[in-house]
């Protein structure tokens, strides 16, 4: 059976708790990392279904996490959804060009976020 474990990466603990609560409410297992470096450790250690990551974080930002995931042969196809307050066209385009599966702007609509996560997971299941 495919993993339902989702990693939420956000240095803002309130946002991370909100997303985790939303996902748990819909029967997903959730791991939380407070920065990019911790996130990559968890990616290495767990078999994840996808990553929901903030963009602006200390130590390693969302782009850096995304690049590290895409460059690693073991989990280069792990879906990543970026979440950010940066709503400029160039940030969104950069995020998608760096390999994000989706980009959601903060403050986000919880149901929309959930629908996007489900869609990504559904696509992943179909591909595999």
């Amino acid at each position: 059976m495919a993993s339902k474990q989702i990693l939420v990466v956000d240095d803002d603990a309130v946002t991370a708790r909100f997303i985790a609560s939303l996902l748990r409410e819909h029967d997903y297992d959730v791991l939380v990392a407070e920065d990019g470096a911790h996130a990559l450790e968890l990616v290495e250690r767990h078999e994840l279904a996808m990553v929901v990551s903030d963009l602006v974080m200390p130590y390693r930002d969302g782009y850096s996490v995304l690049r590290a995931i895409r460059r690693n042969e073991k989990f280069h196809d792990l879906p990543v959804l970026l979440l950010s307050m940066r709503d400029r066209e160039e940030d969104i385009v950069r995020g998608l060009e760096e390999g994000a599966d989706d980009y959601v702007i903060k403050p986000f609509n919880a149901r929309e976020l959930l629908a996007r996560i489900r869609k990504i997971l559904h696509r992943k299941r179909k591909v595999s």
């Binding site: 946002t15 609560s21 409410e25 403050p107 609509n109 919880a110 149901r111």
Partner: protein
Amino acid sequence: MHQVLIWVILTISSIFLALTILIVINKAWRETQAARHGRRRRDLEPRILSWAHGGEKSVRTALDGSPTALEKQAIEQILLDHIQRVRGIERERMAQAMEQLGFIDEYLDGLHSRRWWRRAEAAEKLGLAASKRAIQALSDALDDEMPEVRLRAAKALGQLGGVASARKLVLALNEPNRWSTIRVADILIGMGQESIDPVIDAFDDLTREGQLAVLDIVGRIRPIAATPWLLEKTRDEATDIRARACHALGSIGDPNVSPDLITALKDPEWPVRAMAAKALGRMLVADAIPELSHALRDPQWWVRHNSARALRAIGPRGLEALEKLVADGDPFAREQAVLMLEEAGRVDTRAGELVLQGSTAHTAAKLFIERVVAAGTTGRLRVLSREHPVEDVRRELLALLPEEAV
């Protein structure tokens, strides 16, 4: 004497000891309170969030009845923390919880407090709590005697959004002595599309500064529906209104307005011509190349500069026009054209083509460089004649550049 000294030392030591004990007790008490608050928060937060995601009608059901005063403190913090981070149904449900638990009434009372910081805090929380019911009270707080209360009320109205809030805020643009125009404009910009109608409706009642701020707000929000109104403003009798209207049109980027912007390039006032050129560049209007080329001969530097920049932005056809302008009869046009071609890297490209001996590209490059030399703006060519990696290019450039320039 000796005994008195001992007494003094003992008294002072006792006071310090008592103070130290007090500080330690106070710190321990605060830490205990904080730990209890943290535990309450950890216990309550999942229940509140689960309620926000779910379908239960009343938040009290999720909380198993009415919360205690201490629980209410934690709940308030949880709701205020989360409500500003989300949109949609969850946000509405958390706003509903704040209403059901009596927080909104408390904040509305707080707006009438005798202490200004309480009024400011209440205004801020009403904005965070997304209470539509508070719009009138916050509008009234815009007239508060304390600037901080007025500002927080304005920000709160911005967060609440809505036409009524925007209407009240836009009038603040008329009072630059009481309000920072930039701050009010930022709040209105943050409100997005819903502030457009109120700011346009209020335009005629505003001072000139307020009107200019409105044009900037419209330009930043970029509503395509405001294009006809902006076009009307490009024909206003005031120069700065016409100029800002052109700028806003450039930001919106509706291609249908390019003929009007091309006309504005011939405006008798240079700020309008400069803004029209900038707008045409932002919109990448290739049809404006002849008029922009002509504007490089404008007597005003800003018009020439913006026109040259616009030609560069338009792309290959604009760069081609700039190359032709290098041989223009007007020395100012020649200078701007060369400077912009240098900035675009075109001078470097042409210099690099000197390596293609015997080709048509070589002939064209040589002709171009001769024209640049004749235009008298040879700064980049001189650098290339010293630093270009290809020796043939350096040698040919040295031959083309006049002696004294090398």
